[in-house]
């Protein structure tokens, strides 16, 4: 996934096209006099990449152009983006035409219409670059919101406008604007490849695993509290059991084991026996038996009832399904008559391997489904009658049950002594229940290690994910990447013979600048003098960064656009024109810079494209070879004819 630039084009109001084509994987130079539109090239790329504001300078370009367009090359696939010129004084326009898989620039702009918004365009570009889902979460306590790297940030590394390349305080494109430096800083780890592609997924997993672990730990702590407060809790339980007579008053167990044994005995289910000697209550046991019998019958009846209701519902489900089929088959009614020869292809007259279903076949299916539907609804009344009879039976049984219950209640009310007995029984049951609950939990934690195991497993998982997400490890990977960039940066600075180039250089991620570590201390770019150094360090830093991007196959366009790198030697208002490479210091320095750019592309073997707009022209064969356009003697970006037409 290397994204490079095939061409930049502009379309006039009358539909004419003017294009600047570039070769992929090498140095392309657009040379020309000042005020020919060289700087507009970079602004057009920036604008077509989805920037909100159009920065193309006011003037004849803004007046005579209708569409700005670029054609990118994505490993052979042409990606075309055209954006409506907001016109003189306008800042932005949301008319964007986007087309993929295109071979060459459209000849006319007649079919351009808005088919994508700027937001959607940026999302398409992120996808094309292959930017994985990612999120940079700032250190705890920071006020800025988490930011995900996208195509909008990737372009910052690929452009250097005329006023940026020689700026001693700003290293990157648009670094001087609000919020942009923070965005560059936060997405740099992703673009450097320090943040793995699945970092986002891991972070989600980590958050989820931690929440799960917290839940498990809470359960475990509750269980623990039950067992660790054992002595007081069991003592209280034993006292309670003695009070209601579940345990004899003179039992004093000594060990915990014994105590548990006594409690287990106390919580064992016991029989509810009434005083059999009492005549008034002698038939209570019979009544109890009868009640149990009725309850059993009721239960059976309920099950049967539920079964029939389910059967009925299944029949309904079938009806719904069959109705759906019937509704779709009914489309056959739209066909007037049977066609001739449904077994042959209507296009080529050959016999089809599988005949297209004929009208009569589909009608037959429709009739069949209809028949099934009537059978089902004929079946259903019988089911419902049966269900109704079951319900009558159930009502009868319930009535009987109520009678028996009433009898029991009367009997109990008859006998005061019985009531007291039952009270005691209720109290006993309550205490036994508490003891049972306690013993169960104790048993759960003693016998079942599942929860403990789950907590241990959860901890291990969280620790593992933490290690993968470790901010220390992330910082280390960033440091590694930056030291690689620093190494290349030093090499390029030496080749360009920059001041302090003989010291180790590094990219300062916090301040977004280049720093030279000298014997006297660290020197930031803003402290180093001379315009030549500023341009040189910008170029060296970008070359070093892109070398890492290419080596790690990062989703950054394999493209670097530089505007006027010779301005330190030949200011923009002084048109240098054609120079040779060795007449004076200035010429030698400019030649060195271009030679380095040329060699860089050669060394990367087509993996990188550099586009430079400048007004110098070197008398060297390789320079002429790399020149894509020469705008002098009246040739400009906007043809003269477009202006006359106005």
């Amino acid at each position: 996934m290397t994204l490079q630039l095939r061409a930049i084009a502009i379309y006039s109001h009358t539909g004419e096209r003017r294009e600047v084509e570039f070769e992929l994987g090498r140095l392309n130079i657009v040379t020309g006099a000042s005020k020919t539109g060289k700087s507009a090239l970079l602004d057009i790329v920036d604008f077509c990449w989805g920037r909100d504001e159009c920065t193309v300078a006011e003037g004849e370009i803004r007046r005579s152009v209708k569409w700005f367009a670029v054609l990118f090359d994505n490993d052979g696939e042409g990606i075309f983006i055209a954006r409506h010129n907001p016109g003189p004084g306008g800042r932005g326009a949301d008319h964007i035409y986007f087309e993929r898989n295109i071979d060459e620039l459209p000849a006319s702009a007649s079919h351009f219409l808005q088919n994508v918004t700027a937001v959607a365009l940026r999302s398409h570009l992120s996808q094309i670059l292959g930017i994985a889902e990612n999120l940079y979460v700032p250190e705890p306590g920071a006020t800025r919101v988490p930011l995900s790297a996208s195509a909008s940030q990737a372009i910052f590394f690929s452009l250097q406008a005329q006023d940026e390349i020689a700026n001693r305080r700003l290293l990157f494109h648009r670094q001087g604007e609000q919020h942009i430096p923070v965005a560059i800083k936060d997405t740099l780890p992703y673009f450097l490849g320090a943040m793995e592609e699945d970092y986002y997924l891991k972070q989600r997993r980590y958050n989820e695993a931690r929440a799960r672990l917290r839940r498990l730990e809470k359960d475990l702590n509750e269980l623990r509290a039950l067992t660790t407060n054992a002595t007081t809790a069991t003592e209280a339980l034993l006292q309670g059991a003695k009070k209601v007579g579940l345990v004899e008053a003179d039992v004093f167990p000594e060990t915990t084991e014994e105590l548990r044994g006594v409690l287990r005995g106390a919580s064992a289910p016991r029989e509810f026996h009434y005083a059999k000697t009492d005549d008034a209550a002698s038939d209570l046991a019979d009544l109890e038996d009868r009640r149990r019998l009725i309850r059993g019958q009721l239960m059976e009846l309920r099950e049967e009832h539920a079964q029939f209701v389910r059967l009925d519902r299944e029949a309904t489900d079938f009806t719904v399904e069959a109705r759906a089929q019937e509704a779709r088959l009914a489309s056959i009614g739209l066909i007037a008559s049977e066609a001739e020869g449904h077994e042959s292809c209507p296009l080529c007259e050959s016999k089809l391997a599988v005949a297209v279903p004929s009208v009569s076949q589909i009608r037959e299916s429709l009739r069949h489904v209809g028949q099934q539907l009537t059978t089902v609804s004929r079946d259903r009344p019988r089911l419902q009658e049966h269900i109704a009879s079951l319900e009558v039976q159930r009502a009868e049984l319930e009535e009987q049950q109520r009678t028996v219950q009433r009898d029991i209640a009367t009997r109990i009310a008859d006998n005061e002594r019985l009531r007291i007995e039952q009270d005691l029984f209720t109290e006993q049951a309550r205490v036994a229940g508490r003891i049972g609950y306690y013993l169960e939990n104790v048993q759960a934690i003693q016998e079942d290690n599942g929860l403990r195991l789950a907590v241990a497993r959860g901890r291990a998982e969280v620790a593992e994910l933490e290690k993968a997400l470790d901010p220390e490890a992330l910082n280390e990977r960033i440091a590694t990447a930056l030291s690689l960039v620093g190494r290349d940066l030093t090499a390029y600075a030496q080749a360009l013979q920059l001041e302090h180039g003989d010291n180790p250089l590094r990219l300062d991620r916090k301040n977004l600048t280049v720093v030279a570590d000298t014997d006297e201390g660290a020197l930031a770019l803003s402290q180093i003098g001379s315009g030549e150094n500023w341009v040189g360090y910008h170029v060296a830093a970008h070359l070093a960064l892109h070398r890492l991007f290419r080596a790690r196959k990062r989703p950054v366009p394999a493209l670097l656009m530089l505007d006027q790198p010779s301005q330190a030697h030949y200011p923009p208002d002084r048109d240098a024109g054609v120079i040779s490479a060795d007449e004076d210091e200035d010429q030698a320095a400019v030649a060195r810079l271009y030679r380095e750019l040329y060699n860089y592309c050669e060394a990367l073997g087509g993996a990188m494209q550099i586009i430079v707009a400048d007004h110098v022209e070197l008398l060297e064969p390789w320079f002429t070879d790399a020149t894509a356009q020469r705008w002098r003697d009246g040739i400009k970006l906007v043809p003269m004819s477009w202006l006359r037409g106005e």
């Binding site: 088919n115 089929q325 292809c345 296009l347 599988v354 009208v359 589909i362 489904v369």
Partner: protein, 169 residues
């Protein structure tokens, strides 16, 4: 892969045969073609016929489609990346259904296929006639088919629709 559409009508699983019957699928296609040709003076591009059923039949895509036909396809596609990732396999699965429905319509001269694309035939379906049986789902699909026809008519380039869905034109 042997599908139900490589065997005769009588031997197909009855539910599948009934739910994907060519008369119904053909009706949906005919509605799209009619809406398309009603909005723009052009034939309906044949490749687009193969994405009508995958978009109109599954409830997921049917409900995600825009309500108005002037939404641009590129913007909609960027918002529904996840949904669109399922489309290619659905298109592949429903290709024989669409093919059979197209043949069915052509046999009854309800649709005419020419090198320029699809157009209504000599005896078009009587789409406005009253149906013997219907359901809310069927009505929803009929509405969707009409909308797709109008929507596709409003897009500049039919290839970009196929491309965005991950289908080779």
């Amino acid at each position: 892969m042997a599908t139900a559409w490589q065997i005769d009508w009588e031997h197909r699983p009855p539910e599948e045969a009934a739910l994907y019957n060519p008369a119904f699928c053909g009706e949906l296609l005919a509605r799209s073609v009619k809406a398309y040709c009603g909005s723009i003076d052009r034939c309906f591009p044949l490749p687009l016929a193969f994405v009508i059923l995958p978009l109109a039949l599954p409830p997921g895509t049917r409900r995600a489609l825009p309500g108005k036909s002037n939404t641009t396809f590129e913007t909609w596609a960027a918002q529904h990346e996840v949904l669109l990732s399922e489309i290619p396999s659905t298109v592949l699965a429903l290709r024989p259904v669409t093919r059979e429905a197209l043949l069915f319509l052509t046999q009854h001269k309800a649709l005419a296929i020419s090198p320029r694309g699809l157009a209504l035939g000599e005896t078009p379906l009587r789409l406005s006639s009253k149906r013997t049986s219907t359901s809310t789902e069927v009505e929803e699909m009929q509405r969707t088919a009409r909308l797709l026809g109008r929507w596709f008519a409003n897009q500049a380039n039919p290839n970009s629709i196929l491309l965005a869905m991950g289908v080779q034109p």
